[in-house]
Symmetry: C2
Subunit: 257 residues, 2 copies
């Protein structure tokens, strides 16, 4: 049974793309799972962070959402054997407005994934920083949501809005959707702010916070410019170690269900 | 002639809200301008960062966009005499989808601002992390765009997409729109990444980069949890000093035109 995980948070810059790339690459290369990573953000950071030349892609996830092509025809391979990529291009920016008038607009991605011939152990969906139609498509197609949460005040503020959206989607569109958990990112243990945020999140959402915490590590923000995930760019970095630790924790937590 | 500035970047977490609050507060309190700050992001970070209790707001900018109320009826005062706030609430999250079918949907904010009775020297608009209808409304109502750019690889990648959108809007919707400039934020001079990004931006966009660079400073991320701008929370911090320096540079640059 494929685990389909949406990496979601409408707050911008909290580490959604960094988490999607690092976890997908680690599950594939270090834990030997078959993984597909889906870039559902018109910015296309997951695509470029994995070295995809977006200008060379004739089709992208946008074309599958509007039903022009099958997903199998757009999926490309990565430098890691068991990791495939469904890239995004700038065309995706038009999808939100174009999908509004369509019938069954929330389930376009779900239908495209069920028609896919190739099978995977994990599908990781990197979402844009909003709760619009692209993110709703991701949530309706998913078995789990993973919430990266930056250890900052504004990031904490948006959490209840996100959990309300989860409850709405689970109620109306996708009763099988569950919360995988909250991953604390960009923690800086030298500051009181991080300690305060970690305490508050553990108090308000006690059963949903992963044990692994990702600290701030400049090597994580350098690796996308080389087009490779962190465990290839700098295997000894604290970023590579924490994301490997987290991928194991996530895999164990989802296999138990 | 009121200067209306959209603070825009579809990349998330680059410092749009921090820049909007810091600059609006500094222009009002330190440079004695009459300023209105508009929160156009459904997350409502500008509103909460200035101490607004969003749950107490019956109306917000959403109600003005759909023509239910006039802007003058929703504007609230802040703890700074010459700074007013146009708050956002969660209702704004529905605006993107609701506006799609409306006539003249791109100019709702512009029309609401032209009907306003009170006058300001500056109107600062904090935009959400997307290039959707809310941001397009902001650009069509503005005289200038201010682009906060985090010194990171992904942030640089999105810049050409943003400048393309600017050219489209200037061509089709608002010929008076000009680029105020690019403000480099969250710079960390200890890393090569920051040096690389600063060099690249100055090379590709030589005439558009402000001299002031905002460095990473934890006091900037602490001040929103106290509901006050940085020059009140910690006037001696490097964050307060750089944003005061920047507000002077911005004001001089716009007065020269
Ligand atoms: N643990 C970390 N330490 C240092 N830098 C990080 C870390 N995680 C992410 N970054 C950097 O912070 C920035 C924001 O992260 P990222 O782009 O992954 O967030 P996002 O939530 O996907 O943003 P968006 O909302 O725009 O999609 C990027 O430049 C990234 O390289
Ligand atoms: N110079 C700085 N030094 C340290 N922290 C900063 C700085 N500027 C902003 N921050 C913090 O970084 C985070 C992102 O900044 P901010 O929320 O202003 O970005 P944004 O572009 O408005 O995000 P969004 O895309 O979600 O609207 C916030 O938690 C903020 O407090
Ligand atoms: Mg991202
Ligand atoms: Mg913001």
């Amino acid at each position: 049974m494929t685990k389909i995980i949406s990496v979601v948070n409408q707050k911008g810059g909290v580490g959604k793309t960094t988490t999607s790339i690092s976890v997908a690459a680690s599950l594939a290369d270090q834990l030997h799972k078959r993984v597909l990573i889906v870039d559902l953000d018109p910015q296309g950071n997951t695509s470029s962070g994995l070295g995809v030349d977006k200008s060379q892609q004739e089709f992208c996830v946008y074309n599958a959402l509007i039903g022009e092509v099958e997903l199998d025809d757009i999926i490309i391979s990565s430098q890691i054997d068991s990791l495939d990529i469904l890239p995004a291009t700038i065309q995706l920016a038009g999808a939100e407005i174009e999908l509004v008038g369509e019938l069954n607009r929330e389930n376009k991605l779900k239908r495209a994934i069920t028609k896919m011939k190739k099978s995977y152990d994990y599908i990781i969906i990197d979402c844009p920083p909003s709760l619009g139609l692209l993110t709703i498509n991701a949530l309706s197609a998913s078995t789990h949501i993973l919430i990266p949460l930056q250890c900052e005040y504004f990031a904490l503020e948006g959490l209840s809005q996100l959990l309300n959206t989860f409850t709405l989607i689970k109620g109306d569109l996708n009763p099988d959707l569950n919360i995988a958990g909250i991953l604390l990112t960009m923690a800086d243990n030298r500051t009181n702010l991080t300690t305060q945020i970690v305490e508050e999140v553990n108090e308000h959402f006690p059963h949903h916070v992963f044990e692994t915490i990702i600290s701030r590590n400049v090597r994580l923000s350098e690796s996308p410019s080389h087009g490779v995930p962190i465990h290839i760019y700098d295997p000894k970095s604290s970023g590579a170690k924490s994301y490997f630790q987290f991928s194991k924790e996530l895999d164990q937590c989802l296999q138990k269900e």
